[in-house]
C-alpha cells in the first residue's frame, strides 16, 4: 500500500474538476466543457484503479484509510476508508461517470457546462458516501448529493420534471433528517464519537436499537427504494435525462442498500435480527408485486424503473437472511444491477434521442433499421432477465440459493422473479425491436454511431465478464462479508 490518498483523490478530482468545468461558462465553450469533463471523468476513474489492484483481500479491516480532524468541536473527523463491501462501489461509480459524460456528449446542447459539472460533482460526492467512516461526513455527502441530482432532473428533464424533482428531493430529505437524529443519538451514547467503527462496538439496549433501526430504515428504505416508499422513483426516472436515470439507477439506489450494510446491520444487529421477518416480507412484496406492476407499463423508462425496484428488493432480501451466500449474492446483484440498469437506460436513451418518445407502442421492428443496436439491447435485456452467462444471473442465483437455505417458501417467492423478470423485459423487447416496422419514423432510424457503440460495447463486455468469471468480485468482498456476518451474530444487548 502506498501513501497516496487515493480515496481523497477519487472524491475531490471530480468535484474540483466539476467546478473547473463550470468555470468554462456559457455554451460558446461547450466543446471545451465536454472534453474537459471527459478528461476529469477519466482521471477520476484512473485514481480508483489502485483501490482495486492494491486491495488486500485477506483482511476485513478498512484500507486506504485517511484521517484528519475536521470539526474538533464535535469530534467530527475527515475519516475515509474502504473495505470489501464499499470498494467496488467506488469503482463502479467512477466507471459509470465516464459513461454518463459520453452519453450526454451530443444530446445535451443547453447549459452543457452545468450539466457536466453536476454529474462530476455528484460522482465525487457519491465516492465520499461510500468511503466515509465518520457519521457526519457520511451524512454530509449523502445530503449534498441530492443537490446536483435535483438540478439535473429539474433543468434537463422531461415535461413533468419540476414535480418529479421536488418529490425526489423531499422524499429523500425526510428520510435522511430522521437519520441525522439517530446519528446524534449514537454520538451521545458513544460518549462523543461520530466514528462509524466505534458505533459498531457500541452496546445498545433493545428499545434504543429498535428506534435507531427505524430511523435508519426510513432513510435507507426511501433511497433503495423499498415498497411502499418507492413511488418517487418511477417519476424521477421518467422525467430525468438519460444521464440522470443512469446515475440514479446505477449508483444512487445503491446508497440505501449500502447504508443497511454499513449502519443498520452492524450498529443495531439485534434489532435487525428482530425486524428481519418484516424486511424479508417487504422485499418479497417488492420483488413480486412490483414485478407485476412492471409487466403492465407502457413507458419503457417506467418499466425499467419498476424492474429496478424489483431487483433492489432482491438485494434487501439477501441482506436480511444473514447467510454468506445471500449477502454476497446481494452485493453482486448490486454491482451487476449498476451495469445492467445503466445500460438499459442508455439503450432507451439511444432510442429516445432519435424518436423523442418512450412509449412502447410507438416502436416496433427497430431491428430492421438498427441491427447493431438491437444486438446490444438484446444482451442487456437478457442480463436484466437474469440469463445465465450474464452478470444478472450470478447475483439472483446466489440470493435464491441463500433464500432456499433460509426458508424454502421465501426462496420460492424469490424465484418467481426470474419468470416475471423474463416476462416483462423480453415482452418489452419483443414489442420494441421485433415485429413489423411500426411507423415511418422507425423506418428512418439510423443505427448507432461510433460513440454509442463504444459505451454500449464497454458495458456489454463488463456484463459478460462479470457473468462468466465473477471470482475477482466475490473474492474482494469475501473477507468483509464474513466479518460482517460474524459481527451481526453477536448480540449487543
Amino acid at each position: 500500500m502506498t501513501g497516496m490518498p487515493f480515496l481523497s483523490l477519487a472524491i475531490w478530482i471530480p468535484i474540483l474538476g466539476g467546478l473547473l468545468v463550470l468555470a468554462t461558462g456559457s455554451d460558446r465553450n461547450a466543446p471545451l466543457a465536454r472534453s474537459l469533463s471527459l478528461l476529469v471523468a477519466l482521471a477520476g476513474f484512473a485514481v480508483t484503479i489502485p483501490l482495486f489492484t492494491q486491495f488486500d483481500t485477506s483482511t476485513s479491516a478498512m484500507q486506504f484509510a485517511e484521517f484528519l480532524p475536521w470539526i474538533p468541536r464535535f469530534n467530527i473527523n475527515y475519516h475515509l476508508g474502504v473495505d470489501g463491501i464499499s470498494v467496488l462501489f467506488v469503482l463502479l461509480n467512477a466507471f459509470i461517470t465516464i459513461m454518463v459524460v459520453i452519453a450526454g456528449w451530443q444530446v445535451i446542447q443547453e447549459k452543457v457546462a452545468q450539466y457536466m459539472a453536476a454529474f462530476l460533482i455528484m460522482s465525487g460526492l457519491m465516492n465520499g458516501i461510500f468511503s466515509a467512516l465518520d457519521g457526519i461526513l457520511f451524512y454530509v455527502f449523502f445530503e449534498a448529493s441530492l443537490i446536483p441530482l435535483y438540478l439535473v432532473i429539474g433543468i434537463w428533464g422531461g415535461a413533468n420534471r419540476v414535480y418529479a424533482a421536488i418529490k425526489f428531493f423531499l422524499y429523500t430529505l425526510l428520510g435522511s433528517l430522521l437519520m441525522l437524529i439517530a446519528l446524534l443519538y449514537l454520538f451521545m451514547e458513544a460518549g462523543g464519537s461520530f466514528s462509524i467503527l466505534d458505533w459498531h462496538k457500541l452496546p445498545l439496549a433493545m428499545p434504543a436499537q429498535t428506534l435507531v433501526f427505524w430511523a435508519f430504515l426510513i432513510a435507507f428504505a426511501v433511497k433503495v427504494p423499498m415498497w411502499p416508499v418507492h413511488t418517487w422513483l418511477p417519476d424521477a426516472h421518467v422525467e430525468a435525462p438519460t444521464g440522470g436515470s443512469v446515475v440514479l439507477a446505477a449508483i444512487a439506489l445503491k446508497l440505501g442498500a449500502y447504508g443497511f450494510l454499513r449502519f443498520s446491520l452492524p450498529i443495531v444487529p439485534d434489532a435487525s435480527q428482530a425486524m428481519a421477518p418484516m424486511m424479508i416480507a417487504l422485499s418479497l412484496i417488492a420483488v413480486i408485486y412490483i414485478g407485476f406492476v412492471a409487466l403492465v407499463q407502457t413507458d419503457m423508462k417506467k418499466l425499467v424503473a419498476y424492474s429496478s425496484i424489483s431487483h433492489m428488493g432482491f438485494v434487501t432480501l439477501g441482506f436480511f437472511m444473514f447467510n454468506a451466500i445471500g449477502l454476497e449474492g446481494a452485493l453482486v446483484q448490486m454491482i451487476s444491477h449498476g451495469f445492467v440498469s445503466g445500460a438499459m437506460f442508455l439503450c432507451i436513451g439511444v432510442l429516445y434521442d432519435r424518436m423523442h418518445t418512450r412509449n412502447i407502442a410507438d416502436y416496433g421492428g427497430v431491428v430492421k433499421t438498427m441491427p447493431k443496436f438491437a444486438a446490444f439491447f438484446m444482451l442487456f435485456a437478457m442480463a436484466n432477465a437474469g440469463l445465465p452467462g450474464t452478470s444478472g444471473f450470478i447475483g439472483e442465483f446466489m440470493v435464491i440459493l441463500g433464500a432456499v437455505k433460509f426458508n424454502f417458501w421465501v426462496g420460492f417467492g424469490a424465484a418467481i422473479t426470474l419468470i416475471l423478470g423474463a416476462a416483462y423485459t423480453l415482452w418489452m423487447y419483443k414489442r420494441v425491436v421485433f415485429g413489423v416496422v411500426g411507423n415511418s419514423h422507425v423506418a428512418e432510424l439510423e443505427d448507432i454511431g461510433a460513440r454509442e457503440f463504444a459505451f454500449l460495447g464497454i458495458l456489454a463486455l463488463s456484463v459478460l465478464a462479470m457473468g462468466l468469471y465473477p471470482f475477482p468480485f466475490t473474492e474482494v468482498m469475501h473477507a468483509s462479508v464474513n466479518e460482517l456476518l460474524r459481527h451481526v451474530a453477536v448480540s449487543k444487548l
Binding site: 470539526i71 468541536r73 449534498a144 435535483y150 429539474g154 421536488i166 441525522l180 446524534l184
Partner: protein
C-alpha cells in the same frame, strides 16, 4: 456622596460611535451638497473602526482569535503569535463591569458587537444603491443606523435592567424611523406604525416584568438579581410572574410565535434596504438580550423559562415553516423563514440546564449563538439578492421575480441557490452545521422528540426554499433586464455567498470562537 470617575475604557467603542454620530449630524448640516456621501463614508468608517476597537478592548477576544487562527495549517501558528503580540497591553483578561455596574465588558459582548457592527456595515453597503434609486439616500438614514448600532451595543453590554432597556429603545426607535424613511410610500408608513405600536406594547410588557423582578429582588443589576434569587431572598410567585413578561418582551424582539405578528408585515412594508437591516444585526442584539436577562440574571429560574422557550420554539418552527409555504412575496417568505430560524435559536437556549445539571450550558448556548451568527450571514445574503434584483422603479418582491435567473446571470443564481440550500439546512453549507449544533445540544439535553419535530418541520421548510431554486433554474425568465449593481455590491455579495459555502466546509473556526466567548463570559 463622592463622584467616582467611571472606567471609560471598556466602553471605548460605544463612545466612538456616539461621538461620530454627533459629528456626522453636524457635518451633514454644513456640507449640504455632499451630505449623503459624506455621511455614508463616515458611517462606514465609524462602523469598521468601532468593530476594531471592540476587538481590542474586549477581554480575551484577541486571544481567542489567535487560538482559532493557530489551527489554520501552514502559517497559522506564526500568525497567531502576531495576534497575541497585539493583544498585549490592550485587553484585560477578565470580565470588567463599569459605570456603577451598569455596563459589562466581556468577550461574549465583544464578539456579538463585532458581528453586529459588521452586519450593519454590510447592510448599508447593499442598501445604498437601492436608497439612491428611490431618492431617499439622505444623511439622516446613516445617522439613524449609527444610533441603532449604538443602541445595540449598549444592549449587548448591559448588566443592568435600565441600561438594557435604554439600549433596546434606542435601537427600536431608530428602526421605527428607518422603516418609515421612505415617507412617500404609504406601505412603509403603515409598516412603521404597526412596528411602533406593537414594539411599544412589547416594551411595556418588558418594563412591567422588570418592575416585578425589581420588586421581588430589590435589584436592577443583573448580577444582583441573580444573587438575590440564589439566596432565596425573593418571592418566587412575583418573580415567575415577572419572568413571563420578560420572556414575552424578549420573544417580541426575536420575532417568535406568538409575538411574531409584526415580522411579516414590517419585512414586507419596509424598504428592502431596511428589511435587510432589521433581519440581520438586531437579531444578534436580541440574542444578547436573551442571554443577559435569562442566563445572567435569571439563571436560577432556568426550569421555568426553559419550558416557556420550548413552547415558543415549537410554535415558531411549526408556524414559521407552514406559513412560509403559502407566501408568494419573497420578503414575506423570508420573514416567516426567519421566524422559524429564531425558533431554532431558542432550541439552543432551552437546552442549557437539564434537571438542575448545568454542564450542558456552555454547549447549548454556544450552539445557539453559532446559529444566530450563521443566520445573520445567510439573511444578509438573501436580502442582498432581493436588493440586487431591484432597480429604479422596480421592486423585486415576488418569488416570480427570480424566474430564470440562471439564464440571466448564472453566478448570482448559484449564490442564491447556496443561500437557499444553506437556509434549508443542506450540507456543505453553514446552515447545516448551525442546525447540527443546535440539534446536537437538544439531543444531548434529552429532548429527542423536540429534535424530531424540528427536523420534520425542516423538511416542510425545504419545500419553499426549493421553490426559489426551482424558479431560478427550471423556469424561463420573464424579466430580461440585465442586472445592474455597483462593483462593490457585486463583490461583497459574492464574498457573502461564498462565505456561506466556505464556512460550511470549515465551520470549526466560527464554532470555537462562539464557544470561547461563552467559556470566557459565563
Amino acid at each position: 456622596m463622592n463622584f467616582v470617575v467611571p472606567d471609560f475604557y471598556p466602553a471605548a467603542a460605544e463612545i466612538l460611535v456616539a461621538v461620530m454620530a454627533l459629528v456626522i449630524m453636524l457635518a451633514s448640516t454644513f456640507a449640504r451638497r455632499v451630505a449623503s456621501d459624506l455621511a455614508y463614508g463616515l458611517t462606514q468608517l465609524t462602523l469598521v473602526f468601532a468593530a476594531l476597537v471592540c476587538v481590542l478592548v474586549s477581554p480575551n477576544l484577541l486571544a481567542a482569535v489567535a487560538a482559532v487562527i493557530s489551527e489554520v495549517p501552514l502559517f497559522g501558528v506564526r500568525l497567531a503569535e502576531i495576534v497575541m503580540g497585539l493583544a498585549e497591553g490592550y485587553a484585560a483578561n477578565e470580565v470588567v463591569a463599569t459605570f456603577s455596574g451598569m455596563f459589562i465588558g466581556d468577550m461574549l459582548g465583544g464578539l456579538l458587537k463585532v458581528f453586529s457592527l459588521l452586519a450593519v456595515s454590510v447592510a448599508l453597503l447593499y442598501g445604498r444603491g437601492y436608497l439612491a434609486d428611490r431618492k431617499v439616500d439622505r444623511p439622516e438614514y446613516y445617522l439613524l443606523s449609527l444610533l441603532m448600532s449604538l443602541g445595540m451595543m449598549v444592549m449587548i453590554s448591559a448588566n443592568h435592567m435600565l441600561s438594557l432597556y435604554m439600549g433596546l429603545e434606542m435601537m427600536s426607535l431608530s428602526l421605527y424611523g428607518m422603516v418609515a424613511f421612505d415617507r412617500e410610500s404609504s406601505r412603509s408608513t403603515e409598516a412603521a406604525m404597526k412596528y411602533f405600536v406593537l414594539g411599544a406594547l412589547a416594551s411595556g410588557l418588558l418594563l412591567y416584568g422588570m418592575s416585578m423582578i425589581y420588586g421581588a429582588t430589590g435589584s436592577l443589576e443583573l448580577s444582583g438579581i441573580a444573587q438575590s434569587i440564589y439566596h432565596q431572598a425573593a418571592n418566587k410567585t412575583v418573580l415567575v410572574f415577572g419572568l413571563v413578561f420578560v420572556v414575552a418582551g424578549v420573544a417580541f424582539k426575536l420575532g417568535v410565535v406568538p409575538f411574531h405578528m409584526w415580522v411579516p408585515d414590517v419585512y414586507q412594508g419596509a424598504p428592502t434596504a431596511v428589511t435587510l437591516m432589521i433581519s440581520s444585526a438586531p437579531k444578534l442584539a436580541a440574542f444578547a438580550m436573551a442571554m443577559r436577562l435569562l442566563v445572567y440574571g435569571l439563571f436560577e429560574l432556568a426550569d421555568q423559562w426553559q419550558s416557556m422557550l420550548m413552547f415558543l420554539a415549537v410554535l415558531s418552527i411549526v408556524l414559521g415553516n407552514l406559513a412560509a409555504i403559502a407566501q408568494s412575496n419573497i420578503k414575506r417568505m423570508l420573514a416567516y423563514s426567519g421566524i422559524s430560524h429564531m425558533g431554532f435559536v431558542l432550541l439552543g437556549l432551552l437546552a442549557g440546564v437539564v434537571d438542575g445539571d448545568r454542564n450542558f450550558a456552555l454547549n447549548a448556548y454556544s450552539s445557539a449563538m453559532f446559529y444566530a451568527v450563521s443566520y445573520v450571514i445567510m439573511s444578509l445574503a438573501s436580502f442582498g439578492m432581493v436588493i440586487l434584483l431591484s432597480r429604479a422603479g422596480f421592486e423585486a418582491e415576488t418569488i416570480d421575480d427570480f424566474k430564470g435567473l440562471n439564464k440571466r446571470n448564472s453566478w448570482f443564481a448559484a449564490l442564491m441557490m447556496i443561500v437557499m440550500f444553506s437556509m434549508a439546512g443542506i450540507p456543505f453549507f453553514i446552515g447545516f452545521f448551525a442546525k447540527l449544533s443546535v440539534l446536537q445540544a437538544v439531543v444531548a439535553a434529552g429532548y429527542v422528540w423536540l429534535a424530531v419535530v424540528a427536523v420534520l418541520m425542516s423538511v416542510i421548510g425545504a419545500f419553499y426554499y426549493l421553490r426559489v431554486v426551482k424558479v431560478m433554474y427550471f423556469d424561463e425568465p420573464t424579466d430580461t433586464a440585465p442586472i445592474r449593481a455597483q462593483g462593490e455590491v457585486r463583490f461583497l455579495l459574492s464574498a457573502n455567498g461564498l462565505a456561506i459555502a466556505v464556512l460550511g466546509l470549515l465551520p470549526q473556526g466560527l464554532m470555537s470562537l462562539c464557544a470561547y466567548a461563552l467559556l470566557a463570559s459565563l
